[in-house]
Symmetry: C2
Subunit: 252 residues, 2 copies
């Protein structure tokens, strides 16, 4: 792992032995964006007779962002936005049977097997023995519960928080509810916007493990700037070493 | 209020002074089923050229039940099931513009003002001074948060639990998380299936306040049978008296 920013020696004193580790789920523990990517490809193919791929993507994203406040995150909102965009882009010429195909695309996602990312099996179990683990994720309530259940990891988390938005207020509420001081909380996730920046903002520690794809709505230009509280990992396999260093203290 | 079942004197000894009151939200604190009912009417009108109202309702309900496991409860799942049913019932002849109208119906629901039920304003505030109140509801995460925020009641609840299903396991998890013994928990709601029976099942106390409409999926034939732990109220306005009796103890 590499530490981003100065102040490496701060970290152990901030954490100490007893700290809680929060994990994002989609694209941190299991594949998600690759499934969406595949559905986008089939969606673009379906609409190819009306518009080129770039236009389809652009309009779908615009619809999703316009609907985000009312639908929130998750597959169901995506399905509704995809249907709406298809009607818009075809000037109402899309057929009911084609809309049925869009619904089927979404339903396939909701039945998709859960594929754990590399390292998850080896890393999460041992960490759960020594630390309190939380799962903090956004999306559809039912779908996230389904994926957690299929992942085989459910028993390893002390609590599961499925939230409508992952901002600093959300993290504050979760930590308060569990009685966790922010400086004793390490969040691990693939999204700088949802997993890293808001946690650093409230004084927590964050480890970024990038996924090879990032949904446009999760992209940020800001680089985290939090001396000794932000860590960049290449893979979840590097997490145990980071946790060990944090437990060992400044002299380790 | 009337107490359903024998054993009235049990209740006070079971509750004591310090107990938590859980509230359902839709059709217990604010109107919901009336909004759905209005949308159903407009939906049946839209499909009237294909099928009679009874067939439309029957098929829509069948689609919703078939999709319940993948979509869960809430407006977004309803919208997707309504689109799917319209395509089915029209043998694919429904137009894209008509599907756009179904989406608009759903989006109207997601923007609908929150109308509190009679008595809520007068009852909830004073109860919140003396007791820990929880809000326990199912549906879309974002939509339920929106309604709670618009209701003006958010600050009165110690915690808000938006869950994917309200069964005995769900109530057990919630009570465990908050450290509440079931016998010190009173749940108030309009659905026998979701608010009353599962709470009685785990040893809690429940007060049923019926709403004038009940969604078919929430109807049950079973009559609660729990000596001294089940109460039938005509209106939320009767709740303070029940709570007072419970606090006063058996001799009151």
């Amino acid at each position: 792992m590499t530490e981003a920013g100065p102040g490496a020696t701060l970290r152990a004193s901030m954490m100490g032995d007893d700290f809680t580790i929060g994990f994002d789920a989609d694209d941190t523990l299991w594949h998600n964006e690759t499934i969406f990517e595949n559905v986008h490809l089939r969606y673009r193919t379906l609409l190819a007779r009306f518009h080129d791929a770039g236009t389809v993507e652009q309009r779908l994203f615009a619809t999703e962002m316009r609907n985000l406040k009312r639908y929130g995150y998750g597959v169901k909102g995506f399905m509704l936005s995809a249907i709406e965009t298809a009607i818009d882009l075809s000037d109402g010429r899309i057929s009911a049977e084609e809309i049925r195909l869009i619904i089927a695309l979404g339903q396939d996602m909701l039945a998709h097997p859960v594929e754990l990312l590399d390292g998850v099996q080896d890393v999460i179990g041992p960490l759960a023995h020594a630390h309190r683990l939380l799962l903090i994720t956004k999306g559809d309530l039912r779908d996230q519960e389904r994926k957690l259940s299929l992942s085989g990891l459910a028993g390893l988390f002390r609590a599961v928080e499925i939230v409508s938005e992952k901002d600093s207020g959300t993290y504050e509420r979760i930590l308060r509810r569990h009685g966790i001081p922010p400086q004793r909380f390490l969040m691990v996730g693939n999204s700088l916007k949802s997993d890293i920046l808001p946690v650093l903002e409230i004084g927590g520690v964050a480890a970024h493990v990038p996924y090879h794809l990032t949904w446009a709505a999760e992209r940020v230009d800001r680089v985290p700037d939090a001396a000794g509280r932000f860590f960049q990992l290449r893979s979840l396999r590097e997490l145990p070493d980071l946790v060990r260093e944090m437990r060992a203290g400044p002299g380790a």
